[in-house]
């Protein structure tokens, strides 16, 4: 990824602004967000406002820019234009208060338990929480095993536990259950739902319409680098207002 033309945000100091630290991260305001690479606009003026609480599902066809948007909201990529404001805090300064579960989990070459120990220590959290986190994701019995030998579903559950270990105010998930078996999918949905109920703001990218129906309080439909629709779940699924979303939900090919 690193040799692609899009620049990554250099590692930033953790936020020092005390007032900003104590202020909640929501609401989020995104205005005119652009990302260009080689002259092509990958994100082309994203406008988005998210209120506190709940689960926002981001949908859209392949290549719509969902992953790029997530990374910019999380402060991992520098936008070419526009602004991300987490209640006045910049994306780069908000990173430490958020967590992102990638589509393909990147686990350290250590035991399952050591993967959690690492994050708890690096982020100055209480290390005695490790077993409770492992229990929550159903991996306590695998604590001593090498993390890289876990199955796809187990690895993603560990990645989720690691994300939760940092007590994020916002939890991003980028198609976390793509290519997982149905049982693992349900476990992950249950854990994410529980985090949502505890007040963690969830921003969940998925391809799976069924999963979107189960998880979403509201849906953002991304199409060709723009927000085509932003609706409450009760509105979006029965009668989407935008044409691309209608086509997508009807199973027609959307480009």
């Amino acid at each position: 990824m690193s040799d692609l033309p899009i620049t990554a945000v250099p590692p930033v100091a953790r936020p020092r602004d005390e007032a900003a630290m104590s202020r909640p991260l929501l609401p989020l305001r995104v205005s005119g967000l652009r990302l260009a690479a080689d002259g092509a606009a990958l994100l082309d003026g994203v406008e988005l406002s998210l209120a506190p609480g709940g689960c926002t599902v981001i949908m859209g066809p392949n290549g719509a820019g969902k992953s790029l948007l997530l990374k910019m909201l999380h402060g991992l990529l520098v936008p070419s234009g526009g602004e991300v404001s987490w209640n006045g805090t910049s994306a780069a300064q908000a990173t430490a208060r958020q967590a992102l579960v990638f589509q393909k989990p990147v686990l350290l070459r250590r035991s399952v338990a050591a993967n959690l120990d690492f994050v708890l220590k690096a982020r100055g959290r209480d290390r005695s929480r490790r077993d409770a986190l492992l229990r929550e994701v159903g991996l306590l019995h695998k604590a001593r095993q090498p993390a890289r030998l876990l199955s796809g579903g187990e690895a993603q559950r560990l990645a989720l536990a690691r994300a939760l270990a940092t007590d994020p105010e916002v939890l991003f998930l980028d198609e976390p259950t793509a290519s997982l078996d149905p049982a693992s999918v349900l476990v992950i949905e249950r854990i994410v739902g529980a985090a949502r109920d505890r007040g963690t703001r969830i921003i969940f990218v998925t391809h799976d319409v069924g999963q979107a129906r189960r998880m979403a309080d509201e849906v953002v439909f991304l199409h060709r680098g723009r927000v085509a629709e932003h609706s409450h779940a009760d509105v979006f699924f029965p009668e989407p207002r935008s044409q691309p979303a209608r086509d997508y939900l009807a199973g027609r090919i959307v480009l």
Binding site: M1, L76, R110, L149
Partner: protein
């Protein structure tokens, strides 16, 4: 001059008889080259790790220079170290010339580029995989480096063994700065060179056999490490 077969026979009996002189030479070889490897890792690994995680102007040039330095001719290193350690040189006051210390010094310089360049490659590949996750976790550069060094430990051990292999087999640097003094700075390679030129083939061959066994051992060690690493999904 004996026949090769005769010399080989004598060499084997020398190895097996546990002759004190022979093992003194082997022992010094190992002490010098292991010390140089440890020192080179202490210097080269942090350099490799720092370059692996950093982006800066002129980085490409640094990589080219580092790769070129991997092929430093041992005699040139020996000569440069000699000039520094000789009585009139800038480090002459250390009185290291013609001591094992000088040999460690020269071999360290010889293999620091190897350790730095190879570890840079290993750690950069690992970092490519971890970088985004590290940024998401807001790790400091120091935390990133120590994590890479630890998670890359198996691959880095093989890097260290590569450095050791180069050090223990070279003759050019140690002969210049050590002087091949009997019972003081004579190591396997310098002894082989001397005994061969004197026509004492059994001793030279005996040392050659031990050196070969060592090389085999190093490679077997690398292989075993790879297998352990694969078993624990470290690859």
């Amino acid at each position: 001059m004996q026949s090769i077969g005769e010399a080989f026979h004598l060499a084997l009996s020398l190895v097996l008889s546990g002759e004190a002189d022979l093992y003194e030479i082997v022992g010094l070889s190992l002490r010098v080259s292991l010390s140089a490897t440890v020192l080179a890792c202490a210097i080269g690994l942090p350099i490799g790790a720092l370059i692996a995680v950093s982006r800066f102007r002129g980085r490409g040039l640094v990589l080219i220079v580092m790769n070129a330095l991997m092929g430093l001719p041992p005699v040139v290193v020996g000569l440069l170290v000699y000039l520094h350690l000789s009585r009139s040189g800038p480090l002459g006051f250390l009185g290291l010339l013609y001591t094992p210390g000088a040999m460690v010094f020269a071999q360290t310089i010889l293999i620091v580029p190897i350790v730095a360049a190879l570890s840079r490659q290993v750690l950069e590949d690992l970092h490519a995989e971890y970088a985004e996750q590290f940024r998401s976790l807001c790790l400091s550069r120091w935390q990133s480096i120590t994590t890479l060094l630890w998670d890359g430990r198996y691959a880095l051990l093989t890097v260290g063994l590569a450095g050791f292999g180069r050090a223990v087999a070279e003759v050019g640097a140690v002969i210049i700065v050590g002087g091949n003094i009997d019972h003081l700075t004579r190591v396997m390679t310098t002894a082989i060179a001397l005994e061969t030129s004197k026509g004492d083939l059994p001793l030279a061959l005996a040392l050659g056999i031990i050196l070969l066994v060592l090389a085999l051992g190093v490679n077997a060690g690398v292989q075993a490490l790879r297998m352990t690493a694969a078993r624990q999904a470290h690859v």
